[in-house]
Symmetry: C2
Subunit: 242 residues, 2 copies
């Protein structure tokens, strides 16, 4: 069981457990390429393994690569001028980051840090643009991904101001369980801490702990160490909209 302490880098040898193109074909964005396009992409891109705690891209740095998560878990982190940390999202297999670098080639708007040992695939901006030129379906899919990104950010901006801590936490739990959970999105058992949760919902770590305790007391969730089981999804939904 992968239970590595956060913040401690880990040496991970390269070497895929399964072929790259097989994993890549499961990612919506690249699936649009078709068989031959996938081969071209694999040849053009880079696949690497990263250990927990490693920083993939650093906020503010230049960068022109688009990344896709093949395996593992990474977090998108924004550090404010005062050093406060905001976790924008957790990304698992099939998800991508670095879209902005492709759009305008500007500096990274956030950092991306490995939470669970991750296997990432990346292509450079020129390579991606060339792929898009040859495969218009990839361009369409890319726009779709962008749309989802904008919608999520919009919703999040509103949530941050209109929901109280309990609501934001409920929403975060549902979001995490749906994306990274087991048993049909009911169990969260991944390597992120309450501090990560706190940074996701914009609250202090103790406050999150309390809010979790409240949910557990109402039998809406159950907590066992770092494992959270969602027992009453409907109630969580209700709390995430009021």
């Amino acid at each position: 069981m992968e239970r590595r302490v956060n913040g401690v880098p880990e040496i991970v040898p390269p070497g895929p457990a399964r072929p790259i193109d097989e994993k890549l074909a499961e990612i919506p964005l690249f699936a649009a390429l078709g068989r031959d396009g996938l081969e071209t992409a694999v040849a053009a891109g880079l696949a690497r393994r990263y250990g927990a705690g490693q920083i993939i891209v650093h906020q503010g740095d230049p960068g022109d690569r688009l990344f896709a998560v093949l395996e593992g878990l990474v977090k998108v982190v924004l550090t404010t001028a005062q050093g406060d940390v905001v976790v924008l999202d957790m990304l698992g297999p099939g998800e991508t980051f670095g879209e902005l670098s492709v759009l305008d080639g500007g500096p990274r708007s956030a950092s991306v840090i490995v939470v669970e040992t991750a296997w990432l695939f990346s292509v450079s901006r020129p390579q991606l643009l060339a792929l898009m030129r040859d495969h218009p379906a990839l361009a369409d899919e890319f726009l779709r991904v962008l749309g989802a990104l904008v919608r999520r950010l919009t919703e999040r901006a509103a949530d941050m101001v209109s929901l109280d801590l309990g609501g934001r936490l409920a929403k975060a739990l549902l979001h995490l369980a749906a994306k990274h959970g087991e048993s049909g999105g009911k169990v969260i058992d991944r390597a992120f801490t309450q501090s990560d949760l706190a940074a996701m919902v914009g609250a202090s770590r103790p406050a999150v702990n309390r809010a979790l305790a409240v949910l557990a007391a109402r039998n809406i969730i159950s907590i066992n160490g770092r494992t959270i089981v969602l027992k009453n999804i409907a109630e969580l939904h209700r709390r995430s909209v009021r």
Copy 2:
């Protein structure tokens, strides 16, 4: 002087004060079209006037048009399930909205409401896609606009959790003055109220009033009714990052 009460619709006759193509050429997105492309766009699109309080697009509705503000002022508003209102942005001449409808054709993620009598230009998704096909520069520019949108939303999400009311207000004032202000971005005198400001920074209206009073007492801004003069821009910047 335009000093219409918010929320009260107003009948505004059609009829541009200046030619459409002239205004459109001043908008970065459409400027990429060149002379002949502009004419095509004008022929394909619609130009209309809307009175204060009118709702241009309604959150949740389907919609496939991209809008550009030629004149006036509109606000992008998100209403939560409980009825709380969040103002995402104020858009003036040269700015666009409805990009999402072009990306994925999904429902409107927010409503757009006229604040000051506005003259808007709009094109449908198919028309815009056709224009992009014939004028690749338009597609490039559209991606640039999207990049800016994503960056702004990302920054906003972080601001909402890391800045206190004073900081968020300072940031909002700088943002508004830069976009819609006079005298080199120092004076804000538009038709939006303290309630609008409150919905922008995610606070109650009295709280905003107090925060403004504090800034005025420190001689950082001066307030005269609905007119706000930024007297110490450097100090506002300082407050918007700590």
